[in-house]
């Protein structure tokens, strides 16, 4: 056991009923996260709809690593470190587009969309024809897999397949991803920096319904006394493996559209796809309305507002949040417009909800960093020992609100961080 191991175990209670503030600010923990969390977990790269044709590409990040995602001429999705093998210069500088090849601006090495080295200036005369193009292709992300449109990458060649990694969470993701034959598309992206640790943002997405009544008080009309009472038709669900989701259970006398508070045009659309949803998802899942969720470690979602987001870490005290809108690909154009506008008004850097979230996350990160604050524990005990099961739902279930999913998140964090070298 090294000192880092002690720090990890000291940071989270064995039952995750508390955490220590070190977890939000310690530099050594953060460095280890890059290796053990972001180096081994499946991370969202984007969506197949962002790569509509051969040669399509976009840039993103996996942990702190700059990544280039491409569609090859054969139609396969690949991901690479966005750097030239010659001297490590940044290869692609555009955010997105279509390219036949990627040419390094430093010395001119050129790569195909599948990562192969196509040419290096002076290959015959200066390298005497001895440069092995096969060996010096782009550095590939070891594994790239799609789950119903969402594209994930994993640096670890020995990591389990994506479906195993998602586990029971996939059954819930299907409510969003697989409800229509045409699947979904991802629009955006809004990108902004927040001086906050990535975990306080991730844990907010995984299970924090408790904050809604207070943080988002400016957006709520229900009386303040009722905001801390258990919501009778909502549950926090910990499917397994550190993922989490919160759902509303739609009562029999309401349609999903009525529950979601959508415009009539959207309600009409939702009524029109109800049969298809039941056919694809069965009777139970169309009656679950996902509100928020997280695929460990950093794929957050607020499905009730069509928001999908990735928390990119930029140091212990900084994140870059990338927020997209996800809509059914075959929804009418007008429905997509309404949903996107609704999403943007609430979420994103100027959103009526999210502005106040970012203020909280910044405050937690800054104010827990002090020597005195770090001596004390932070409470994560809501609903501990009261986790249960609900017929037909997969995973452990808690009230809305509960810290059940946050505890699952931090326990998974400890597991990954203490797992030792792969």
């Amino acid at each position: 056991m090294d000192a880092r191991h002690d720090l990890i175990e000291r940071s989270v209670a064995p039952d995750a009923s508390w955490i220590r503030p070190d977890i939000f600010s310690d530099e050594a923990l953060y460095r280890l996260e890059q290796e053990r969390i972001f180096g081994r977990c499946w991370l969202l790269l984007g969506h197949e709809s962002q790569l509509p044709e051969p040669g399509s590409f976009f840039r993103t990040h996996m942990g702190e690593e700059p990544i280039l995602v491409t569609r090859t001429l054969e139609g396969e999705v690949r991901a690479f470190l966005n750097l030239c093998r010659h001297r490590g210069a940044q290869l692609c500088h555009e955010d997105r587009g279509v390219a036949k090849s990627f040419n390094c601006r430093y010395h001119g090495w050129a790569y195909a969309c599948d990562g192969k080295l196509l040419a290096a200036p002076g290959e015959q005369q200066l390298y005497y024809g001895e440069l092995d193009r096969e060996e010096w292709g782009l550095i590939r992300v070891a594994q790239v897999e799609s789950y119903k449109g969402l594209v994930f990458g994993n640096f670890d060649p020995d990591a389990p397949p994506l479906a195993d990694y998602l586990g029971n969470m996939a059954w819930y993701l299907d409510i969003l991803l697989d409800r229509r034959a045409g699947g979904t598309e991802l629009l955006g992206v809004q990108r902004w920096r927040i001086p906050a640790n990535w975990k306080i943002v991730a844990e907010n997405h995984v299970g924090d319904e408790y904050h809604v009544g207070f943080t988002h008080g400016s957006q709520l009309t229900r009386p303040i006394e009722s905001r801390a009472a258990p919501a009778p038709l909502a549950r926090e669900i910990r499917p397994e493996l550190g993922h989490g989701i919160g759902v509303d259970i739609i009562p029999e006398d309401l349609s999903p559209g009525e529950r979601g508070g959508f415009d009539e045009e959207v309600n009409e659309y939702l009524r029109s796809i109800a049969g298809e949803m039941t056919e694809r998802l069965g009777e139970m899942r169309p009656r679950l309305f996902p509100i928020h969720g997280l695929v460990f470690p950093t794929l957050g979602m607020v499905p009730i507002l069509n928001s999908i987001r990735v928390v990119h870490p930029k140091g212990p005290n900084e994140i870059e949040l990338w927020s997209y809108c996800m809509v059914d690909r075959d929804a009418p154009k007008r429905v997509k417009e309404i949903l996107v506008q609704r999403s943007v008004s609430a979420f994103g850097p100027a959103g009526s909800f999210e502005q106040d979230d970012s203020a909280n996350w910044t405050g937690v990160t800054r104010n827990t960093a002090g020597h005195q604050a770090r001596k004390h524990r932070l409470n994560l005990s809501m609903g501990l020992g009261h986790e249960g099961e609900v017929d037909g739902l997969r995973g452990e279930v808690g009230l809305t609100a509960s810290d059940i999913n946050q505890r699952g998140f931090y326990l998974r964090w400890v597991q990954e961080m203490t797992g030792g070298p792969a």
């Binding site: 629009l187 809004q190 920096r193 400016s218 502005q355």
Partner: protein, 179 residues
């Protein structure tokens, strides 16, 4: 170059200076009176975009870098949206602005563009917006505003505003103030 009506330019300078002061002083109700009922207020996302496919640089536009019609914006408000934004700021529970940020908007480079058919005037300007929430939370941003102003009773009403922020990744935690 076309010569500009000196009176028009003076009127615009006055209008923009007053608008900036109303917002910096948080006189939102007075500011809303300068906004037309049919306002569209948009802040697009922006992307680093290739030049390689451009052969005619006369055809280059900043618009190539902006979110396309079906894409996600940072702000996309109509009059109801902007009114709700103001109500939120006045709700006493908009924590990102409680206590209110200290702000300063500097508006410059005011350039009248084409007169529109309905008598409106297109106006380009440059915005420098500073926001302070104490020494740990200070941010600057610069942007181009592309406005459509409608003359009304010796004054102008803001009919359309497109704010093109000069960043692809927004710095400074959130966009909690009106730009």
């Amino acid at each position: 170059m076309t010569l500009v009506d000196a009176q028009l330019l003076a009127d615009l300078h006055y209008w923009y200076a007053r608008e900036a002061r109303l917002l910096d002083e948080r006189r939102y109700d007075l500011w809303l009176e300068t906004v037309d009922a049919a306002i569209r207020y948009q802040v697009p996302t922006r992307y680093f975009t290739a030049q390689a496919d451009i052969t005619d640089f006369g055809a280059w536009t900043v618009d190539r870098e902006l979110a396309q019609a079906s894409d996600v914006l940072l702000i996309d408000d109509d009059h109801a949206g902007i009114s709700k934004r103001i109500e939120r700021l006045q709700s006493g529970m908009a924590w990102a602005e409680m206590p209110p940020s200290i702000t300063r908007r500097i508006v410059s480079n005011i350039e009248p563009g084409e007169a529109q058919e309905d008598g409106g005037i297109e106006v380009f300007s440059a915005l420098l917006a500073f926001k302070s929430r104490g020494p740990d939370e200070r941010s600057f941003l610069t942007a181009q505003r592309r406005d459509l102003l409608l003359p009304a009773d010796g004054d102008f009403r803001l009919r359309r505003r497109l704010v093109i922020i000069d960043d692809t990744v927004l710095m400074g935690e959130n966009l909690s103030i009106v730009l």
